[in-house]
Symmetry: C2
Subunit: 244 residues, 2 copies
DNA sequence: TTCAGATGAATTGTATACAATGATTGCGCA
DNA sequence: TGCGCAATCATTGTATACAATTCATCTGAA
């Protein structure tokens, strides 16, 4: 019942009106892995669910596609995005470029109120984890990074980070390998500690390492055989008499 | 008549279909300063000009708003965006964070074909400058940065840089102070030279300085009195008997 | 049995009609 | 004459109707 459970949304209010609500609902569902990558988002279905016309549904889907959460295929429809391994690597390279510096800036601008807010946020994360609400925990964990970017008070960069965190959620859904325990809690606590001490150097370094840790929990090895070459595998490598 | 004059467009093909053409035309017009910041973009007017329904016009305007070129005010309409001084600073801070590193990556991936392409691009810039086609020169100058980001082969970061360059165009339209001669030509030549030598350190440094130089040509001082307080200025600071 | 082609259903893309909101102008009153 | 208010107009927001494309299924022949 605290402010975090109903916390606004990831997407900046570029869109207003009814479609904003749809964007928020879909965003949250995707972030919490209730909507898997590749899921078809039919317009009629959504307009039925949200009780609005297809017009506003289409507006919402277009907004989501601009944020990389949804992929629009012309005459085919809208689908929850499925980032490739390449895109996954790019996203975390971009985060590695932006977020450590942002953590530094945030440290310099950190106030008591900010610290309290972050502390409450980590508590909420912990709570969700304890209740085994993995989806919510994951969403909050991403939002922690967004909160930091807002504290850094660079709206433009914060907007980029929001996009990247959003895509990260999809990437984790696709490439997270279960055996690796993702221990966000510890990393976030350590960051908060650095913020509290006003140690910008440490905050920057911790964020850098934290991002590396996240990538480590992912399996981003190139999948061996492409499905494109499936025909070749079964028939032969496109040169006659290839395999017995 | 070369490939650069008709060169694709800034916006990535998130949108397809007829609205893509409208996005491209409007983008180009804004980049070339033919559409000034604040200009009203009426839906009926545009649907008339491009001979499509308001539906596709609205789609195009929404796409442009997501890229920060257009501002949508609910029930008021669409306007060419007017970045504030604060936003202007943020944009160039973000560019300073992203582009030097990108220039370094580009250097490492630079091929002969890339070099030729960049060389041709600079020629086109020079040509437009010589013909006093300032709008076109400005657009090409921004696109030079985008080409580099594409060579760096990081689509995600390149997308961010595209947005930033787009907004930079608006910022220049608003805050460029005429007395300062913007000598992009020299800086771009120097960058190309570093690329050709494969000197990544130099490329990174040159890009960093180039961005600083651009900011230097802008007047980003806080405008003295806000128009919000205009009433206060004329009547008094909202406290009776404030000023004699 | 399998593949090719065609037909039909379902879904998306676009245009248009209607509703709602905001701007403008004219009138009435002080 | 200046201000406030109200009605009208223009413009945007939403819903719906129609067109176009894609996907599935069915038929038929090799």
């Amino acid at each position: 019942m605290n402010h975090l459970s109903e916390s606004p949304l990831f997407i900046q209010p570029t869109i207003t009106g009814p479609s904003a609500a749809i964007v928020a609902r879909l965003s949250q569902a995707i972030h919490e892995h209730r909507l898997a990558p590749g899921t078809k988002l039919g317009e009629d279905e959504l307009s039925d669910v949200f009780d609005v016309s297809r017009t506003v549904v289409r507006s919402a889907l277009q907004a989501l596609s601009h944020d990389g959460l949804v992929e629009l295929k012309r005459n085919r429809g809208a689908f929850v995005a499925k980032p490739t391994i390449r895109e996954a690597r790019e996203v975390f390279e971009a985060r590695a470029l932006l977020e450590p510096r942002t953590a530094r800036s945030a440290t310099e601008r950190m106030t008591r109120a900010h610290l309290d807010r972050l502390h409450a946020h980590i508590e909420a994360e912990h709570d969700a984890m304890a209740r085994a609400e993995h989806g919510k925990a994951l969403r909050l964990s991403g939002q922690f990074h967004i909160e930091i970017s807002h504290i850094a008070d660079q709206a433009t960069i914060a907007g980029f980070i929001e996009r990247l965190v959003a895509r990260s959620s999809l990437i984790i859904a696709l490439y997270w390998q279960r055996q690796s325990a993702m221990c966000e809690k510890h990393a976030h606590h350590a960051l908060l500690d650095a913020f509290a001490r006003g140690d910008a150097d440490d905050a920057e370094e911790l964020m850098k390492n934290h991002l590396v840790d996240i990538v480590t929990t992912l399996d981003l090895r190139d999948p061996a055989p492409r499905e494109i070459s499936l025909g070749e595998i079964l028939v032969g490598p496109s040169s006659p008499g290839g395999q017995g």
